[in-house]
Symmetry: C2
């Protein structure tokens, strides 16, 4: 056991969160990984989160059950038969950037950060790492810097620890988003420099028998990122 | 079916949230009640929430599983054997008001409001009702007006709907806390005027074979409130 301060890392099992975990370790924290079983259609994500947590040397990995699928509202939640909520395929960059994607899960990052905050307070942690990115995911409102700053403000008003720390004091909660300004290629280059094994990660919105589809927005961004980083993606693709 | 706008009401099954539900109905909304199964020790609360929802004419009542007890950290979560996390009994008003209670659940209202926000966005609702109160619960940081305002700010940055509404536009999320400035006696008087059946509610932190203990902070505040309101509490107490 080390004397490193604890930090909570939101770990989806995707490329970005695996890189955020590596940044947390790089920054000298003892990482506590938090994943959610929230009715996501791509269950492979949770298996990936477990692999990434183990390889990333986390102190503890918690998977919290939180079934949001009863609410519906997103193509990423299973059990919703709405015809207009099919994962889009083969979209160009302009189409991906132009709108808030239908794969947006209502208030997801707000919920996940809130639970992370609760765990952080119990652990005595004041640092939360999240792999959100404002470049490739500009369409998601809860991936923007102003959202994260508003969450930090809330966190320090919401908690006993934040209130005791006061307005400027030591011990205030910080949300770290080390990838927020990076392109996908820069994220991949950063992760490779920190020895992230991207073969353990899962990004696809619509896997085909366990393999990535290669055609959804997430796969396309990932593949373009590896190409731009001059690296090859170690995960297996169905359509390639 | 009416054409009333939907609103989400956080419903614990306690006296305050039952009154908040009645306020939501009074204000002309179609109430959608949201409760959480979060590993609370007092399971009677959820049964009370179901009774209150049914009597209160909600359009839909969702109970979301969210097991925070793995994190520990509060006397209200079961399965934590820490000796210093016993529900305190027979405390005077000064002791109750002087500190953040150990019955504080880390980030609970933040988490609950976040999930409510997600459901509201799916429903097309822009209004969330919550029975928080800053008078009797001054020790809870997430029951204060500044916390609720910070949450509203966050909600309008976090969501597609909030972003589309813009900084001042129609359609922004509002968190209604109709009880925030009321004493317990005033809450009870308000609820009685709105025909709330308080016999359906449950407030006790530490029930004795289904009956309220009459001695925990929550029971003591409730009993004092009924007395000050000149009314009698219809629930059954073990110690009386």
């Amino acid at each position: 056991m080390t004397n490193a301060s604890p930090a909570v890392v939101l770990l989806s099992g995707g490329l970005d969160s695996a890189t955020a975990l590596a940044c947390c370790v790089r920054d000298g924290f003892a990482p506590h990984a938090l994943s959610f079983d929230y009715g996501q259609r791509h269950r492979e994500e949770l298996e990936a989160a477990r692999r990434v947590a183990q390889a990333g040397g986390v102190v503890r990995h918690e998977v919290v059950d939180l079934n949001l699928s009863a609410f519906g509202g997103s193509a990423l939640l299973s059990g919703d038969g709405s015809a207009d909520l099919i994962v889009p395929k083969d979209r160009g960059e302009a189409a991906m950037a132009a709108e808030i994607p239908i794969t947006y899960v209502p208030a997801r990052n707000t919920v996940f950060l809130s639970v992370a905050l609760g765990w952080a307070e119990v652990l005595g942690a004041r640092d939360i790492y999240v792999g959100v990115n404002a470049v490739d995911y500009s369409g998601y409102p809860d991936c923007r810097p102003e959202f994260l700053r508003a969450f930090e403000t809330l966190a320090n008003l919401a908690t006993k620890a934040g209130v005791e720390a006061g307005a400027e004091g030591e011990g205030r909660f910080s949300v770290h988003a080390p990838l927020i300004d990076l392109t996908k290629a820069e994220i991949i280059a950063l992760g490779l420099s920190l020895n992230v094994d991207y073969g353990l990660t899962h990004s696809c919105y619509d896997p085909v028998q366990g393999d990535a589809c290669g055609r959804c927005d997430s796969c396309r961004l990932r593949l373009a990122g590896f190409e731009a980083a001059g690296a090859s993606d170690p995960v297996r693709y169905a359509d390639r």
